[in-house]
Symmetry: D3
Subunit: 135 residues, 6 copies
């Protein structure tokens, strides 16, 4: 179930085709996952989303590619985005995430959720030393 | 402002003192941040929280200590926990997070928040290949 | 799957029937969507919920009916409520939301999610000029 | 800092005065907390909010008044609503919440946040026996 | 669909078997729900999660067992955790939650979500009297 | 308090100056709000964020500028982003939002938060007619 319906021949639109071709080339795979098929109902939205995902997630940078996927999972699980948890866990595994790393990721993000809840329920005042403006 | 008030002499309670001593020894610092001062209103809650934070965040493991702090920041920012964002950003900097790493962390977690919102608003169906039960 | 089970003949209860009749009359349609069928396990909860949905969403007011549905989608997607995203996207389309408007709605709510994440991760101090108490 | 500014003489408006009088009578106290002072910028919004808070929170019902406040805190902390955490923790204490009950409340809601995160990150399938529709 | 796949013979691992045996003994039931089957991919994570769930939820304490389940539901619904809403609503019913209690729970947690939203959108300043640090 | 500290002379960096100049020109105002001052610790992040905010929020499009600000407020309040609620409420008022429109916005977004909570707690199944894939 979804809130938009992909057109029967998405790639008849040259803007959609150009993005899909770039996804295939970047990932070295013919597979286009549903996120892009559904975003294609609006070529401009598809283009701007892919532009940024490619720039941030598929371009060498200061953080390790697997770390980037784990950060993505952390946010996606916290936001309760089922699709994103699935797609980025699959991506992290494809980039070599072991079961031990997966388990540790889960330990950390569930610990964070727990202490976030405690700090908020206690309304703990922020320590002055943590303020970057002060230093 | 907070919802509990730390006792004037917290360490008069031996259970609290034992936890605080362990925090100081583990971190090699005399500083005890507010989270622990406020949790100390209930020694059992203080003990169980510190036990798990120590085991997961302050014990060598398969993930790098800085990566663990960045994952903590990712969850804390997504949950909107001001205290936790401050304390774990300070911790990440203390573990060597550079400005470039910090900026990239922000790029990734804000991109994730954006595509989480898109996937949820579109209700994109999960691709079958992402299902671990299937494989 | 759900956490309550609708009774086999919901409208045997006159309070439920009265609400359902008002839903049909207000919407000029015989269709009652699942939200109301499941809320009917408690007639008082059904009545108070419908009373407010009708007053706020189905009564002419200062905001345009389509704008109201788009605001509902914005909150529902942010809260990750799958049911609500589906039902209010369908309602927005029924009120004339075009594909271009839908795409722009998605652009805005995903941009907001992204900058929310940035502002929270940076803990940006609120500018004094934004304070209504001051003016 | 706030996004609206209370008028200098709020109770000059008879609708506002009527609500404030009812708050005072219901709570047997002259104190009106900020939530109501700021909601008063729109008398209709003030009236409908107070009507429901009074009906649900200040009227004898099947749940104990203290339990109701603890449920309110649970939701408010999870939503990260600082104002609501403060006001409902104060209300719970006024209704007799002990430090031991407060600590246990925090233990439960932080445990729930943690296992919520685990279940979402694992995307655990719902067991068939939990489905009320099936039974 | 899930992000990990339970091994075919989970209880071949003695650590997993020990936890499952304790779950069965504690709950006086042979049924092991999916949460534990999926957590078992990492015995240490399974052990630490069950240890805390047992200590907090399945051990007599100052709060009533049904109240504890209702608090769990409140957090789980707010976090949008479908699995947790299902499992803890089933647990609450098993502990005697009536339809009237269930309906009142829903009234309270949905009222809280609504006033949380109002307080946040208004950015209502916290009243000084709510500050525990002050008293 | 914040997690980064703006440099004393931000506009000494030509990339930062170029963005700030464009913000001033676009908004026809000399005022640069804190969001941009703090984002400037990383010129690339500043540039990409402003590029998208300008394209989506400050460029004529199919939705009315005031409606766009109200959608931004809806998401920001739901995410609990204090800074964003303040800045976009100020922006909405600058674009002509009346008190009546503001009050109605609050009514809708708080109603949505409430029914989101109900739908999630009930786990209401999505009606088949809402599925865009089906039609």
């Amino acid at each position: 179930m979804s809130t938009v319906k992909p057109a029967p021949d998405l790639e008849a639109d040259p803007r959609v085709k150009a993005v899909f071709d770039d996804i295939r080339a970047t990932r070295k795979s013919d597979f286009i996952n549903n996120m892009w098929l559904y975003l294609a109902f609006d070529p401009a939205l598809l283009e701007s989303t892919w532009r940024d995902v490619k720039a941030i997630m598929a371009t060498p940078s200061v953080l390790d590619p697997l770390v980037k996927e784990m950060l993505y999972i952390a946010v996606s699980a916290t936001n309760g985005c089922s699709y994103c948890v699935h797609s980025h866990t699959a991506a992290a595994k494809a980039k070599g995430m072991t079961e031990a790393q997966h388990a540790e990721l889960l330990s950390i993000i569930s610990l964070a959720a727990r202490t976030n809840q405690l700090a908020t329920a206690l309304q703990v005042p922020v320590d002055g030393v943590f303020d970057a403006d002060r230093n």
